[in-house]
Every structure is written in structure tokens, then in C-alpha cells.
Amino acid sequence: MAGFLDNVQWPACLDLGEKRNTVASVAAGVLFFSGWWVIIDAAVLYPSQEQLNHAFHTCGVFSTIAFFMVNAVSNGQVRGDVYGEGCLGRTGARLWLFLGLMLMFASLIAATWILFGAFVVVPSRLVYPGLSIFFQNLLIFFSTLIYKFGRTEDLWG
């Protein structure tokens, strides 16, 4: 019984090789900008404060800031591989990455809270704007992960 799926293989186990970075960059780009267009769509269709409170846009803004924070440091800097100290060195790089990831998770949690607390449990309100805030942050979250961890920094693929 144990391991009965051992011989089952993914039909096309993608061996991307050299193109892995390209595919990861493109996928991250699609996800990130789709997230922003989802919220643009909701903001255009529901412009009033009652339907989509304008303060809820801060989640998406912080997600985007977190995206750039997380991707500003390379994995090499966090490991301490690069020569030539930056202003704060390896500890600074780790702290920056930690803060960026914390901001990213906080935005995702906030978006989920907004969806359920301000839209789902309020029956008189259309839920679509809340869904769009949630999906914006979810898409930016996955985009960050793919852009950060989907690319390899080895020079030879």
C-alpha cells in the first residue's frame, strides 16, 4: 500500500534547463500585472466608497512594495557569497528579505480579512470588489514567490 504511486510519473516532467529563468520571469510578470488589472477593473466598475472602500487599496500597494523588497536582494547576498560589503552586509540583506516577506504575508492576510470581514459577512454589499482585492494580493504573492525562487542564479543554467 505504501508507495503505490511510486511508478507513476508526471507525463511531461518539465526539464526547462536554460530557459527556466525566462519562464519564471514571464510567469511572474503575467501574475503580477493580472493582479493589478483585476483591481483596476473593480475600481472602474465600483467607484463609490460604499461599494469598494478606497482605503482597501493599501493592501495591493504594500504587496507591490513587498515584491520589490523581496526581489531586491539576491540569494547570493543572503548567503554571503558576494564580495564587497554593502552598507549592512549579509545581516542587512537577511533583515531586508525578512521584512519584505513579512509585508507580503501581512498584505495577503489583510486582503483575506477584508474579503471576509467587509464583504462576505455584510449581506447588502456586492462581494466582487472584495474578491478582486483578495485575488490581487494572492496573484502578487505568487508572482513574488515565482520571481524570487523560480529563477536560479547559477551562471551556467
Binding site: 520571469s25 514571464v26 510578470g29 477593473d41 472602474v44
Partner: protein, 131 residues
């Protein structure tokens, strides 16, 4: 040389794409010129990649952070060029038929730009006297 035929077919593709965009705006049943904002995206789309290729000289390394950022931004511009007509149509600024024509034009134009980079882009010495 593979240059002339590819150039002619790419320019034909570009013309067809722009034709679709103009049809989506100018047909009497639609008559709304908002989709012309997409021309802005068409012009912006090749720029990040061109800048990254000019700025970074090492074409021998497989991974390159600047090139990947350029690809990220280019993908974003392409997604935006598809998102804008859809948002227009959902907000009833343009008709859905016009949106469909504009999206078709998008596909053709971006395929043309991609074809341009694939055919004329990969050369060992990046010189401007290619043709």
C-alpha cells in the same frame, strides 16, 4: 539572406494588427476611439528588452538579472495591453465587438514584435549594421 522575406512578412503582420485596431475604433457601429491608447503599449513593449541588451554586455552567461527584469516588465506591458480593452468593454466604454477586434489586433502585433526579436534579435555581435 533570410532578412528580406522575414522583414516583409513581419511588416505585413504589423499592418494587419494595426488594421484590426483601427477597425475596432473606426467602424461606424462602434465609432469610439478609446482603444487607440493601446498604441502607447505597442511602442513601450520592445523598450525594456532593448535597453537590457544594450546595457549588459555579457551574452555568454545564461542567467542575467537585468534581462529577466526586462522580460518581467515586457510581460507586464503585454498583459496590460490585453487588460485595457477588456476593462473598457466591461465598463461599457466600448462595445464587446470592438474589444474582440482590438484583442485580435493585439495578438497579431505582439506576435509580430516577438517575431522581430526572434528573427533579427539573436546575433553574436550586436551591431547596428545588420542590414
Amino acid at each position: 539572406m533570410a532578412g528580406i522575406k522575414a522583414l516583409i512578412s513581419l511588416s505585413f503582420g504589423g499592418a494587419i494588427g494595426l488594421m484590426f485596431l483601427m477597425l475596432g475604433c473606426a467602424l461606424p457601429v462602434y465609432d469610439k476611439y478609446w482603444p487607440l491608447f493601446l498604441l502607447f503599449f505597442y511602442i513601450l513593449a520592445p523598450i525594456p528588452y532593448c535597453i537590457s541588451r544594450r546595457v549588459v554586455d555579457d551574452t555568454d552567461s545564461a542567467s542575467n538579472a537585468c534581462k529577466e527584469l526586462a522580460l518581467f516588465l515586457t510581460t507586464g506591458i503585454v498583459v496590460s495591453a490585453f487588460g485595457l480593452p477588456i476593462v473598457f468593454a466591461r465598463a461599457s466604454v466600448i462595445a464587446w465587438g470592438a474589444c474582440a477586434l482590438v484583442l485580435t489586433g493585439n495578438v497579431v502585433i505582439f506576435a509580430t514584435i516577438l517575431g522581430f526579436f526572434l528573427v533579427f534579435g539573436s546575433n553574436d555581435d550586436f551591431s547596428w549594421q545588420q542590414w
